[in-house]
Symmetry: C2
């Protein structure tokens, strides 16, 4: 057995399935690019059968990230681009349509094998399940030479039955066998034993890669994944920050850094450039609006916080006394401060390049304008500020309505009032005032009276990007539209209302709040009204009517 662990990132599929983590196509593409740079082996880019939008997002990633010519001269082999499909011809066709443009494409299909899922969800018996698996894996294999099969809820399935199902999948052409603990139920001992049993008892498994896919419902996802790897798995399915439904998936950063930090124990390697981990963690947190707590392993703000006190006090006699990995190994930069008011366009460009942003000249002009504005208000501009600024400027959804002006009065005297001016897609200005329970409520009511897209605000949060009271504030909101469309959950086969996230950054948090809300509303409008280039004008008139 080789000692290389394939990292299969499913941030864009299982991760995006977490409530409110919906990303725009542009955001997904940016995450996929960053994942390729990080060195993941396989990107599960989505579930193409969910909707035409989902298919298109996966297709774009296959075309733009899955192809060597598009990799901006990076030395790496492009990652495999994978699409999820239920065990049906329609799903498999859609998945293939989405991924086939990648240099290395994979179809991942699944069917549940636990008694409870077969009885209550599938209403199929064991024979029927075996038959369907054999048929659909063979069908996928006729389209694509790289086929992954997962027996859903394997953690609660009868191992003897699993050996048979997996053996049939292999006979039908599956090349990777993924073993999911779908409900996060197993302990490391149990999960390790399950994988060991599969490796030992499944016919033909020696020619396949065994994969593990764990969930964190009991806080054991990372330990289960490592137990599976020690028992013979050579692929780990993970997400950044461990995002995903319920308590989420296994965190990429934990598995990779455990293997890395304890290499003498595991004697295994990955292809990950660990120094990019913290940057990717932030990118995903920004796009999904899912916060990373300070005490999160590897990527939390406090994960290396002992550093500060120690350096200041000069008290520590030996670095490793309380440190098992170097902050630099995951990309935590010790020197933070970089740019200020007098920094030029060249310095900005150089710094953005170092941070991994390759902007065109036109984009750089815009970014430099924003940078100068910010530098007028704030003395020192850190990497975090720059990242917030670039994200705010370039990774917003295609704008339908734009914020043209905002004026707010509030305080303890009551009657918080906001006046908002928006431009619609035709460039016409609309101004409205509203009173609310607070300045954000007033602002949102004023925006609502112009945009008229009824929705519920599910979540609202603000954090300062950097320390200091003049910091850039970043606002994340999450809304659910009354007419915002629904999305299909691959596993539960349940259509759920889609939720839309938006973020905005500004030194004025009320302005940032307005931007964030507008970003989410624009996503909602695009999803519900299909605000395409052509229909845009007509649709807007309808909305404004």
């Amino acid at each position: 057995m080789d000692n290389y662990i394939r990292i299969f990132d499913t941030t864009l599929r299982d991760g995006e399935q977490s409530p409110g983590a919906t990303m725009t196509s542009a955001e997904k593409l940016e995450v996929a690019r960053a994942l390729a740079r990080l060195g993941v082996d396989i990107i599960e880019a989505g579930f193409p059968a969910a909707s035409p939008d989902d298919l298109e997002a996966v297709r774009r990633i296959a075309v733009e990230v899955g192809h060597p010519a598009r990799m901006d001269g990076l030395p790496r082999r492009p990652p495999v681009i994978c699409g999820l499909a239920r065990a049906s011809k329609n799903d498999i066709d859609k998945a293939w349509e989405a991924v086939k443009h990648a240099a290395h494409a994979r179809i991942h299909t699944f069917l549940a094998t636990s008694e409870i899922h077969m009885r209550y969800k599938l209403k199929m018996d064991r024979e029927q399940v075996i038959e369907r698996v054999a048929e659909m894996v063979a069908y996928a294999r006729r389209l694509c030479e790289d086929v992954e099969f997962s027996p859903e809820d394997a953690g609660r399935s009868d191992p003897e039955f699993l050996y048979i199902v997996l053996g049939e999948a292999i006979r039908a052409g599956a090349t990777t066998l993924n073993i999911p603990d779908t409900v996060g139920y197993t302990t490391p001992d149990e999960f390790g034993a399950l994988i060991a049993g599969i490796v030992k008892n499944t016919r033909g498994i020696e020619n396949c890669v065994v994969s593990v896919h764990c969930h964190d419902d009991l806080g054991l996802a990372t330990a289960n994944t490592l137990a599976g790897i020690r028992a013979g798995a050579r692929q780990a399915e993970v997400t950044l920050n461990g995002i995903g439904e319920r308590a989420g998936n296994t965190a990429l950063e934990e598995v990779v850094m455990a293997l890395h930090t304890r290499r003498p124990v595991f004697n295994l390697v990955t292809g990950i450039d660990t120094t990019q981990i913290v940057r990717l963690s932030k990118l995903v947190s920004n796009y999904t609006g899912i916060v990373v707590p300070p005490n999160k392993a590897i990527v939390g703000a406090n994960a290396f916080a002992h550093e500060a006190g120690i350096h200041q006090d000069g008290m520590l006699k030996h670095q490793q006394t309380y440190e098992i990995m170097r902050p630099e190994s995951v990309g935590v930069r010790q020197s933070q401060l970089v740019l200020g008011k007098h920094s030029g366009r060249h310095a900005l460009k150089a710094r953005l390049n170092e941070l991994g942003y390759a902007l065109s000249e036109a984009e750089l002009d815009k970014a430099f304008g924003r940078f100068k504005e910010l530098a007028d208000k704030k003395k020192s501009i850190s990497d975090a500020d720059l990242e917030a600024l670039v994200t705010d400027e370039f990774y917003q959804p295609r704008e339908v309505f734009t914020l043209d002006g905002l004026q707010v009065a509030c305080g303890t005297m009551g009657m918080p009032t906001a006046t908002v001016r928006l431009r619609d897609p035709d460039g016409a200005a609309h101004t409205r005032a509203a009173i609310g329970t607070g300045p954000v409520d007033a602002t949102y009511k004023a925006i609502d009276s112009i945009v008229q897209a009824s929705n519920t605000l599910l979540e609202f949060s603000v954090h300062a990007v950097t320390a200091g009271i003049d910091a850039l504030g970043e606002v994340t909101v999450r809304i659910q539209g009354k007419n915002g469309g629904r999305t299909l959950d691959a596993q539960k086969e349940v259509e759920q209302p889609r939720t839309f996230g938006g973020h905005g950054a500004d030194t004025d948090i009320i302005v940032a709040s307005a931007k964030a809300y507008l970003a989410a509303l624009n996503k909602l409008l695009v999803a519900s009204g299909g605000y395409g280039e052509a229909e845009k004008a007509a649709q807007v008139s309808a909305v404004l009517a």
Copy 2:
């Protein structure tokens, strides 16, 4: 070996050590009360030798929570109250002074046993370590019949040496032997083997309780704790939400719910009332300002989020298809909405009692006033709103300066301006205006120009307490004062600057921001100036001079 796992909660000691998690004495007492109601067996209430304030906080908990008469007629045996002490007579004396009033008191002392810690931190050889342990455990045992000893950094210590040190500690009178993986370095297999070796090879261990204390640097704390328990440990040291230095400690909720959910595997019980877990998680998050991400196991907002979609769609054929525990089992209430504008004082009192708040009549009057104010602005008031309101009203530090008025203008036109009126402890009003980069910055600058306590804002975050744009906003800030005192870290023996958190709730987030900042500033003033009852007037004049 019995099948009862003792839950040793160190939220107030190791948890409070996380950067910025500093709590006031009142907050600590409230958390300790809630921990007693939750049913934890041992509360590690603090490190009394750190400062007179720390000692006093532990003493108050021993007196008010550690005594049966004070337990408000609850049927439970009061928890053991434990104080941490380095292996020195002074520390042990202080710990005993703090905990001795509890019906069941414990002294917890420790000394490092890994080569790296002995060489670089202690500068002691093995013989000296053994001698000191025997001497100090015996000293503690003369004061207190319940003595716990921890060999610090046991995870990286030579097991053969550990057997000897632990044997000596037992001979000297230790009753609990705690094995810490101080730097979060071990894997479950390694840690389980370490505990099994200790149980097998340590002389006299059969009459002691073996305890495990893990850290989450590699995301393995819960798995390591469970591996230790399976190998024979009968006490688990944990914190709520897994807070603690760096990546934090083992999460109480994960260990308890893993044992609970997988009882047939573990065949072990705890004394925890699991239905209080989510409420405590929120309490600790509010007081420390350390957020819980939506994908946190057990207590994250999404941990049971599949529920919503499923119920709405009526699609799920069988509850357990995607659910391994019931939300009710950890206190997630399915019916949320409770009170509105027309609810009376009696309804409010009843609801607060159900939520676990026992307010006096005078406090209830205040709460009812706040409730009516809120009900004027917001149609329906949820449990979360009520909890934010009560926390904001009753668990603030003793106020030095109070907010008397605030008026803010901001928006895209620039020049955000805030006018603030504060009352000092003598009741005199001070009004100042300031311009800032945003409304919060302007407000904080206006407050600073009155209070004049120089500090750095380390963190600022806002979240909406409930869904809906008229929601109550809750602001958490964390500051570090230039003269805010320092705190002693028990393990690293490093004095670090103290940081102070504050929170505020209001429908106007700028007002909430002002309250939160003032709360943190008041804590800072009390800590640095010793704003006691007597000196208060004099100190304030000095500050205002």
